[in-house]
């Protein structure tokens, strides 16, 4: 029950953030969704048995299922890598700073492009992640590959 509530809450937060303008919010939404799925995976192995799954040390009926934990470990690594790459993309393709016209900011974040109500909001988000080092903007693919 707790797990279900946690998953529901995380998914709700994640979806809310995904539907906002701005890539930073989308990335944060994906982080929340990733956590939700991880909790889901762990709970798929059963929430009752929580002993360390070590042969000869824990009884089989109290040992936790190790397989979902391995799944989560794998998934965390993958999600982390892609999150970093998305942040790099957000920096590299910061619209307005390089081109002055953001055709795909609208594509990426919201189908309703040009909604004035959200503009100050979005500018805020841009400033948040862009003020720190506006000078040394790096190329995303290069940064991601090495």
């Amino acid at each position: 029950m707790t797990a279900a509530l946690v998953v529901g809450l995380l998914v709700a937060g994640g979806v809310f953030l995904l539907l906002r303008r701005g890539l930073l919010r989308i990335v944060l939404g994906f982080v929340l969704l990733g956590h939700a799925v991880n909790v889901l995976l762990v709970s798929a192995g059963g929430m009752q048995r929580r002993g360390a799954p070590l042969l000869g040390e824990t009884e089989a009926d109290v040992a936790a299922d190790p397989l979902p934990q391995a799944f989560v470990l794998t998934a965390v690594v993958i999600t982390f890598g892609i999150t970093v790459y998305m942040l790099a993309l957000a920096r590299a393709g910061d619209p307005g700073a390089t081109t002055g016209h953001p055709p795909a900011r609208a594509d990426a974040s919201s189908p309703a492009d040009g909604s004035d109500r959200d503009d100050p909001d979005r500018d805020d988000a841009d400033r948040d992640d862009a003020t720190a080092d506006r000078g040394r903007r790096t190329d995303a693919p290069e940064g991601g590959t090495s």
Binding site: F30, I82, L89, D107
Partner: protein, 509 residues
């Protein structure tokens, strides 16, 4: 063939990729080595796939329980004819696309070939694995290099569509992972052999596997989850788009077909969903193409439409339907890549794929025009080319299953496909260049030259055209001499319609 060798198509490219990256790190500017190692690795996988096709032709299924764990616990690699033919096609595409990328200069980024090798390893793993979680991992192994390749060397527009592409892919991956978790929670295993038939018997497993299928449908761009594909594939590099069109969505298609035929055992109860999705995808894809006015957007909408064709055979879930699906998939991957390469050559050489600004290329570039014509007619399904054999197979399988609406749409959508192809042919190759028609609308935005053909002196080098010519020739050969591929696809379709041999090999029982 022993099953132990099944790791080779995954481990080989991964290892070579790492070594190449190391070499680049130690001594930069050695693209010549890349141009040897990349195609060599792809060729190696192709040869391996050929042996695998021979080994699986008698219906045997080489299998590998990784790490020597017992069946049921181990991650399993298994190859039947369907896996082998997919492995062959994908490695052939990499083999052809790498020289194409080199000819267009897209492989100058030192990471290009290593990334393509990782991509190929992911694709190989995805078509060989018999474990649901492992499938997720290999799809990620395939997607992560695709994110980097997609954005490589791009300007603002490409980076913007890269953000769309990564977001959509990550969303689909998250749903896929959630689906895998739900399957594990409902069935207690993610081994596809153990899951055989579970989707049809237990509603909980069926629902959980449906979440996985939903995510895979996003990856294979099935309507209504197709919107991302035309927006992204038409904005990345030409060679990368050709490579992706043959590999990425096709892995999604492969996984949907495999999962539906194993986990649901082709359950007739849900087939109407697949059929509805297939027909909608066919029609909406082709109608979307009608509204586009540049080469690659038209072609990417046709990708969506053709994926609908592939799923028609799956929705019939008969041996004939699945065989037709396999045949269609193989020939379509080759032809679509040829078309995208032609479009890529035009865009690369003439700077645009816009139908208004191109024209008269048939006289300037007879080889390119001929290649495009052959590939386009194949896509539309004109005899005697391979597209005709494939569509005939699909239509006759649908007719014998009593799906008359599907037959009608298979034929009708072909006509609309032909219409789009004629539009491209006229706009790019046939009509006189725009300025001869006195078209002045283009001059409005800043006096840009109306017809690009009048400014550029040189023609496309024949070497650049070798890959698309090869693929178009394959389309002709597969049409005139379809028997070998037909017998392979019949074997693959039989293996999908009755997956008991595959399941027995995977579970070790």
């Amino acid at each position: 063939m022993t099953g132990g060798l099944l790791v080779l198509p995954v481990a080989g490219p991964l290892l070579l990729s790492g070594l190449l990256a190391l070499v680049h790190h130690l001594r930069p500017h050695t693209t010549r080595l890349d141009r040897v190692v990349g195609p060599a690795a792809a060729g190696g996988v192709l040869v391996f796939a050929g042996f695998l096709l021979a080994a699986t032709s008698d219906g045997s299924v080489p299998v590998l329980q990784l790490g020597g764990w017992q069946p049921g616990i181990a991650i399993v690699f298994a190859a039947d004819t369907f896996s082998a033919v997919m492995l062959a096609v994908t490695s052939l595409l990499v083999l052809v696309s790498l020289p194409f990328a080199a000819a267009l200069g897209e492989d100058e980024d030192p990471a290009f070939v290593p990334l393509v090798l990782v991509l190929m390893a992911g694709v190989s793993g995805a078509v060989l694995t018999a474990d649901l979680f492992n499938l997720f991992v290999f799809i990620e192994v395939m997607l992560v290099p695709s994110y980097l390749l997609f954005a490589a060397g791009g300007g603002a527009e490409r980076l913007a569509s890269a953000r769309l592409y990564v977001s959509i892919s990550l969303m689909a991956s998250t749903i896929l992972l959630a689906g895998v978790g739900l399957v594990y929670g409902a069935a207690g295993t993610v081994n596809l052999g153990e899951l055989a038939g579970a989707g049809a018997q237990s509603p909980a497993v069926g629902l959980a596997a449906a979440v996985v299928l939903l995510a895979l449908c996003v990856k294979s761009a099935v309507v209504p989850l197709h919107g991302w594909l035309p927006q992204t594939y038409s904005r990345t590099g030409p060679a990368v788009a050709a490579l992706f069109s043959g590999l990425l969505t096709k892995v999604g298609v492969y996984a949907v077909i495999r999962l539906y035929s194993v986990v649901y055992e082709g359950a007739p109860r849900y087939l109407w969903v697949v059929m509805a999705a297939a027909l909608l995808t066919m029609v909406i894809g082709v109608l979307g193409a009608v509204g586009e006015h540049a080469m690659r957007p038209v072609l990417t909408f046709h990708m969506v439409s053709q994926i609908g064709y592939v799923f028609v055979g799956l929705a019939l879930s008969t041996a004939a339907g699945l065989s037709a699906t396999v045949f269609f998939l193989v020939q379509y991957v080759l032809v679509k890549t040829a078309l995208l390469m032609c479009a890529g050559v035009v865009e690369h050489h003439y700077g645009t794929g816009d139908l208004d600004r191109l024209g008269g290329l048939a006289r300037r570039e007879p080889l390119l025009a001929g290649t495009f014509a052959v590939a386009a007619l194949t896509l539309a399904g004109i005899p005697p080319l391979s597209g005709f054999v494939a569509k005939l197979g699909l239509a006759s399988a649908a007719a014998s299953a009593g799906q008359h609406l599907a037959v009608a749409l298979v034929v009708g959508v072909s006509l609309l496909t032909l219409l789009s192809m004629v539009k491209l042919w006229n706009g790019v190759f046939w009509e006189p260049p725009a300025e001869e028609q006195g078209a002045v609308e283009q001059g409005v935005d800043g006096g840009a030259p109306a017809a690009v053909t009048s400014v550029l002196g040189s023609r496309v080098r024949p070497l650049v055209l070798a890959p698309p010519v090869f693929l178009a020739a394959a389309a002709v050969v597969l049409g005139l001499w379809a028997e070998p591929l037909l017998s392979i696809s019949t074997a693959a379709g039989a293996g999908l319609a009755d997956p008991s041999a595959w399941v027995a090999a995977v579970t070790g029982r």
